[in-house]
Subunit: 210 residues, 2 copies
């Protein structure tokens, strides 16, 4: 279970049960123990409970042990249709590889930081981030005034890593549609990244999508 989590992605208890080839109940008690021992952390989203490694310490220990064991692990392959995996909507914001990439990029640029006031999986825009997004045409102040969480880490279904949700996520999708960076599929949640969009994402955010 732990080794399957070293890629940084989160997994549900049922998936981890399958990975370990044990029954869901066995997996449950095991994961409970791993949680109390601070090896993994849980993140409940809807009726799914996503488990991921607690921190870099744990990954380091696993790495060191796998060196001893001389094992090479086979990587996780998501079995989501590739069109949906690349980019799609999640309620009213961007998910899929694109969503996760944006999230990672915004954190790397320090536009987004973990919220100090709210819970664990909430974000704040830094002054830099607010300026940059205003410059792109997002009304950050308006988004702040809405009666909903401003920005949150939403766990991505296909990538199993967080993307940006909340009012800010919605504003980003709105912007991307308005600027024709992406177009919405009519009968699915898939998003198409336009040629123009690909260029813009690259120059504005340094995002290089396959």
């Amino acid at each position: 279970m732990l080794y399957s989590l070293v890629d940084g992605r989160a997994r549900t208890s049922t998936e981890l049960a399958a990975v370990a080839a044990v029954s869901p109940s066995t997996a449950s008690v095991h994961l409970q123990r791993l949680t109390t021992q601070r090896l993994v952390k849980v993140f409940a989203q809807g009726k799914h409970r996503y488990y991921s490694l607690e921190g870099a310490n744990v990954a380091a220990a696993l790495e060191a042990l796998s060196v001893l064991a001389g094992a090479s692990r086979n990587p996780f392959v998501p079995n989501t249709p590739s069109r949906l995996r690349a980019a799609r909507t999640c309620y009213d914001h961007i998910a899929g590889t694109l969503g996760v990439s944006l999230h990672d990029r915004f954190k790397a640029l320090v536009w987004l930081s973990a919220s100090s006031t709210h819970g664990n999986n909430r974000y704040d825009l830094t002054p830099n981030g607010a300026n940059a997004l205003e410059a792109l045409g997002i009304d950050v102040e308006a988004a702040r005034k809405l009666r909903r969480r401003f920005a949150s880490a939403c766990l991505d279904w296909s990538e199993r890593r967080p993307h940006i949700g909340g009012a800010l996520g919605a504003a980003l999708l709105e912007l991307a549609l308005k600027k024709k960076w992406v177009t919405q599929d009519l009968d699915s949640r898939a998003l198409d990244i336009t040629k123009h969009g690909r260029r813009e994402l690259s120059t504005r955010f340094g995002l290089d999508l396959e």
Copy 2:
């Protein structure tokens, strides 16, 4: 057991049994397993079998795990009389802190290297090392001709780390006595490092002894 070995010192199976608070027989089967799994290596000397960590990999893994456990280990304290621990003879060569320090220093200076032709715990002098020792007044060629092993790793009883044995070790002790770097105690195996010797060891080998 493994944690008690992270300091790089070797320990006997009886000591490790005491460390783990189990019977000698239990320790024996456990150590056997650790050996086949390449976590520790054995070195038989007389009727003692010294166990030590197999390599840096193992130490790294233990380190990573202890970070997770948040434990701080209490270090090994040798219970040997300090006079004997500092310097003494082992058969006909130098043992104790001084012996181990010389061994470590010679390896660091690349005067001594693991023997390519003989077994695992044998040494060869490098050309550099031979020159340096000849310059000090050791007849290296004569030592080579003796019908005994030239240089070997002899596990130090108090330090639990190797010092230099064999013909080379004997020649080193002979030199140290002749140059009055050390004087031999009359009724024990203890060696006294003279003031002069301390100075010489410092300038010639960069050895700083307490």
